[in-house]
């Protein structure tokens, strides 16, 4: 009896999973007799077995459920959502008891009388005809009642049934009716129908020999159903998973040994071994495949709980949800299956809660009321791809964007350069949830990041694509198996490492510019590693690819190995381009060997804290090597988690936005050998001063400049300030009263170029990196340096106007905002910037008042002309001066601007004219100001 319990538990847990799915199926198609019969049989089997095992509590619940099901099955009572809910509740109760049973070996204490009463009430209330079976609800069912419940309905023909199974289960059925006490009522009812599966363990031999006899007898439909139920018993055996794991390990070792021998054989010309070795190799491969197969399970096993989950969610959230599951028979390694189960459940939960709208909203959006969640699994090149899609509202990019800014995950300027997909991928970051309300289902912001971490842990990736209003699709790509992976073997500083092939996109051979190469030579090669303040980057097909110097990251470079920048000896390196999520980056390695199948072994527990490795392995030549984890590398270097990553691939929209406009840039060098740039309009003058004229009052370098003291700020910490002779190039930034000099090493050139900031930077003092004249160039953040010289440069200036004048700036390009705002702030204006006219008009509605409005012309959603017309047409801003900022200043454009209501039309890059125009408009406006303020108050009041 004892040894039957584990089998019973395993069987029952499996049955319960199946029941969940089937019940939901039944709810959808209440008249599907096949499903109903299957449900009934399963419940009945559970009941019968637990009666046999003396599990009284379990039996009572199962029995009461069975009674309700029986009424459904006999057509006495219709299947309703309420009755399904009731049965599901009973299943939960059974599950709970079973889990207690598996932990303690005994049924846990508990009171199920309420549930049982409900079940009985449901049956009686709906079964006036139950007079036919008056004793059904009495748990001490007399044996005579048994056949009426079970006999014909399950097995169809009770007499043959005992002949199949009976002897092996009950042993002596005859005494049973004689004793007929309440305690054995269960088994005596169940006797014929326990039928194999539940007692499968001990009775394997029985049914398999008996089965043909049943088939041979005149087959009634019910009988064939039972035969089908027996088949799996004859064809499968239960094997402890540990045995399979052990086999897998052994086969993995065998594969490694085979590889080792093959490698040896390659170097030896001994034909005698060649043929048997070939054979050994084939057999090993076959064996590996065979053992792998034993671990394979259909992914449907991981989906079993989903129909139930979705049904419950639909009830809880009051939504109408259809769950479609495709490719449920796609097989994958059971270890992977276990690990993928929770993330999948979470994503489905998310789709139901966040993704799908309420029926009312769906109707309003012109969609069918029933939302649909679609799971699709399929094989694709050695991987399993699982798509979890919904036809809901899709990801709300704007809300994600504001959440990103609110949580400080990225700045507005960085977001401006990102694609929708990059912004959407922020949902995988920790603590990120856009659900406005926290529901019991989701919205707590612990979720997608955990999903991502769990999927990455098994070497998988997860991505999301979404179309507003049309839904979102999460795509999970996971390896078929964790045991053996294909990996690229590389060498870094004399050590070999393995990089899992799944994350490798391509290999690029790259050059390091030698010191003798002039800057112009660098342009000749497309694959030259460039440095931005010691951070290597690679220009790869017009994009800046951030590079990770593995040897530096792994601290492999001793003092004797200089940095690659100055390492003229190393002529060429390889870049392994890796993809993690939506980010790409390059790993700098010295050599690339071939790919090898490797068996991933976990690293020793004392090394687990090193997140750069996902494991280690033994290569064909017997040496141990570490397996690099691209996800860990991305995290360690800030790629994918840091904002820099999102810029790794800047795509079309932002390129168009920025690069359609060319501007004059001053190129200079400071600190290191690489070009830096600043928009020429921001620079007042370029000067060269004699170093000996630099004075240091209070340690601050100053020079006398046009009769005033001008502070100097050095760009490089270890710059040329130590030298006291020669001349020093200085960029002078000035406003009306003050001037500041920025000391640089060399002024290179003034160029006219498109400006597309491709990479943002953490380096203070720079806005980011752009490709200027085909070279990676840092763009200076002027405001940073001005503040270095004068802490109060942008603060309230005591000599300036008592009340700073308010300017509203509407400009969609973050870059130009960051150029123009400092210029205006430097003049003492207070600038409020928004990135689109709609946001600006919202401020009008809210009653915010300004003294002047600056607006861009080309903007998405609403252009500047429409904005100006709207301002002039109504509201409290109708009489404000409005200046257009545009990159195009053709007479026709200016005319159109004036017609729309702009007072002035100025080129974006012309700082001097802009400041002049702003000053002029405000001084004329100031006369009219009091009147306008009254208008304001009326506007607010109305």
């Amino acid at each position: 009896m004892e040894d039957l319990l584990p089998d019973f538990l395993t069987e029952t847990l499996e049955s319960l999973e199946r029941l969940d799915t089937e019940l939901v199926e039944l709810e959808r198609q209440p008249d599907d007799m096949g499903t109903l019969s299957s449900i009934f049989r399963t419940v009945h089997t559970i009941k019968g077995t637990c009666g046999f095992l003396g599990l009284a509590r379990l039996e009572k619940v199962a029995h009461a459920s069975e009674s309700v099901l029986d009424l459904h099955r006999n057509g006495v009572m219709a299947v309703t959502p309420a009755s399904i809910t009731l049965i599901l509740r009973a299943l939960d109760c059974i599950r709970e008891i079973v889990s207690g049973l598996s932990q303690t070996g005994k049924e846990p204490d508990g009171d199920d009388s309420a549930l049982i009463a409900d079940l009985i009430a449901a049956a009686e209330g709906n079964a006036p005809a139950s007079a036919a079976m008056p004793d059904v609800w009495d748990l001490s069912t007399p044996p005579t009642a048994a056949p009426s419940i079970v006999g014909p309905s399950i097995a169809g023909a009770p007499p043959p049934a005992p002949s199949i199974v009976g002897p092996s289960i009950v042993g002596a059925p005859t005494p049973a009716p004689a004793i007929a006490g309440p305690s054995i009522a269960g088994p005596s009812i169940a006797g014929p129908s326990i039928a194999g599966p539940s007692i499968a363990g001990p009775s394997i031999a029985g049914p398999s020999t008996q089965a043909p006899a049943v088939v041979a007898s005149p087959a009634r439909p019910a009988e064939t159903a039972q035969v089908r139920a027996l088949e799996p018993v004859a064809q499968t055996i239960r094997v402890n998973v540990e045995v399979l794991e052990g086999l897998m390990t052994l086969v993995s070792e065998l594969v490694l040994t085979r590889n080792q021998i093959l490698q040896l054989a390659r170097t030896q010309a001994n034909d005698a071994f060649a043929a048997p070795l070939q054979r050994l190799s084939h057999i090993t491969s076959d064996l590996q495949e065979g053992v792998m197969k034993t671990r394979m399970q259909p992914i449907g096993n991981a989906w079993n709980n989903l129909p139930r989950l979705v049904r419950d969610l639909a009830h809880e959230l009051d939504k109408n949800i259809e769950l479609v599951m495709l490719g449920a028979d796609t097989e994958l390694d059971r270890q992977v299956l276990e690990l993928i189960k929770d993330p999948l459940t979470h994503m489905v939960r998310n789709s139901a809660d966040h993704g799908l709208e309420s029926p009312a909203d769906r109707r309003a959006a012109g969609k069918p009321e029933q939302g649909r969640i679609r799971l699709n699994a399929f094989h694709e090149g050695g991987h399993i791809v699982i798509e979890i899609g919904d036809d809901g509202r899709g990801l709300h990019v704007e809300r994600i964007r504001s959440k990103i800014i609110a949580n400080g995950l990225a700045t507005e300027a960085e977001l401006a350069g990102m694609t929708g997909q990059q912004i959407q991928s922020f949902i995988f970051r920790a603590g990120f949830s856009t659900a406005a309300a926290v529901t019991s289902v989701s919205g707590r912001g612990v979720g997608m990041d955990v999903v991502k971490t769990n999927i990455e842990r098994i070497g998988g990736t997860v991505d999301v694509t979404s179309e507003p209003g049309a839904g979102a699709v999460f795509t999970v790509k996971i390896p078929l198996t964790l045991a053996i992976v294909s990996a690229l073997i590389v060498e870094v500083s004399g050590e070999r490492y393995a990089i899992p092939q799944i994350s490798v996109v391509e290999l690029v051979r790259a050059q390091i510019p030698g010191p003798e190469d002039g800057p112009d030579d660098r342009r000749t090669s497309d694959t030259m590693i460039e440095q931005i303040n010691d951070t290597p980057v690679l220009r790869l097909r017009d994009h800046l690819l951030p590079l990770v110097d593995l040897s530096e990251l792994l601290k492999l470079r001793g003092a004797d190995r200089p940095q690659i920048a100055t390492d003229a000896m190393a002529e060429s390196l390889y870049i392994v381009v890796a993809q993690v999520g939506a980010s790409r980056f390059g790993l700098i390695v010295d050599r690339v060997f071939d790919t090898e199948e490797i068996v991933v072994k976990p690293v020793a527990p004392i090394l687990r804290h090193i997140t750069l490795f996902s494991g280690n392995t033994i290569l064909g030549d017997g040496s141990v090597i570490m397996i690099l984890d691209p996800n860990g590398i991305a995290r360690a270097t800030g790629i994918g988690t840091g904002h820099a990553a999102a810029h790794a691939e800047t795509v079309a929209p932002s390129d168009v936005q920025n690069s359609s406009q060319t501007m004059a840039l001053l190129l200079f060098r400071a600190g290191d050998a690489h070009n830096k740039a600043v928009p020429l309009n921001l620079v007042s003058r370029l000067e060269t001063v004699e170093r000996k004229t630099i004075e240091y009052p209070g340690g601050q370098p100053m020079i006398q400049y046009r009769g005033k003291l001008m502070p100097l700020v050095g760009m490089a910490t270890s710059g040329s300030m130590e030298e006291h002779s020669g001349s020093q190039p200085v960029l002078v930034f000035a406003d009306g009263k003050r001037a500041m000099g920025l000391m640089v090493d060399e002024i290179v050139d003034v160029v006219e170029d498109h400006l597309a900031v491709e990479l943002s930077t953490d380096q203070p003092g720079f806005l980011g990196t752009a490709i200027v004249q085909g070279k990676a160039t840092d763009i200076l953040d002027t405001s940073f340096w001005l503040q270095r010289a004068f802490k109060d440069w942008f603060g309230t200036n005591p000599t300036s106007r008592a009340e700073p004048q308010q300017i509203l700036m509407v400009e969609d390009s973050a870059f130009f905002r960051s150029l123009i705002i400092p210029a205006l702030s430097a003049e003492g204006y207070h600038v409020t910037a928004v990135d689109n006219p709609v946001a600006a008009l919202a401020m009008r509605t809210a009653g915010r008042m300004f003294d002047l409005i600056l607006s861009d012309i080309e903007m998405p959603e609403m252009d500047g002309l429409a904005f100006a017309r709207e301002i002039r047409a109504r509201g409290i801003w109708a009489s404000l001066p409005v200046i257009a900022l545009s990159s195009s200043s053709s007479p026709k454009a200016i005319e159109m601007g004036r017609e729309a209501g702009f007072d002035n039309y100025i080129s974006k890059f012309d700082k001097a004219t802009l400041l002049e125009a702003v000053g002029a408009e405000l001084s004329t406006a100031r006369v009219a100001s009091p009147a306008r303020r009254m208008v304001v108050e009326q506007g607010v009041a109305s």
């Binding site: 050590e495 090394l607 570490m626």
Partner: protein, 160 residues
């Protein structure tokens, strides 16, 4: 087993054999100091072979190596005990132990022999023992001419 210059017979305690209160120790040297670990915890003793460096690992970790298809993480006892590094050319011996199914090797200078010592002769650590040693020593045996420090492998392997 590698035999040292001395034999078990030199140690009178070894004569008391098979008593249940006796333990057998593998005797090894670390910079001249005799150390012992219970023989039952030792799986293998091999000449230290080529090791794979593990970047970013704690300094005590000498690397990892392949022992008949299993990966063994090697811990340099000299570094673990805050002693100067081994002279170049001295490969040392690897004493492989099993800890929760994982194999670790303790890299020592040499391995001498296996001796049997009576448990009741184990003496507590002198309070003046250097901190690094005190942390790993579970007691001292007075042998005829030398002292033997019994190492607690569990604590030696508890590297965080």
């Amino acid at each position: 087993m590698i035999a040292g210059e001395s034999t078990v017979a030199e140690y009178p305690v070894a004569a008391v054999a098979d008593s249940p209160s006796d333990s057998m120790f593998v005797v090894m040297t670390v910079r001249g100091q005799l150390c012992g670990i219970p023989v039952l915890s030792v799986r293998d003793i091999i000449v230290t072979q080529d090791m794979t460096r593990i970047p970013l690992a704690p300094p005590e970790i000498a690397g990892s190596m392949n022992l008949r298809g299993r990966i063994v993480t090697a811990i340099d006892l000299r570094r673990r005990l805050d002693l100067p590094a081994r002279e170049p050319g001295l490969a040392g011996m690897s004493v492989v132990v099993d800890r929760q199914g994982e194999l670790y090797s303790l890299v020592v200078d040499s391995v001498r022999e296996v001796i049997e010592l009576s448990d009741h002769r184990l003496e507590p650590n002198p309070p003046t023992l250097a901190a690094a040693w005190r942390e790993f020593s579970s007691g001292i045996y007075r042998l005829q001419s030398e002292l033997l420090v019994v190492l607690n492998t569990e604590r030696v392997l508890a590297i965080s």
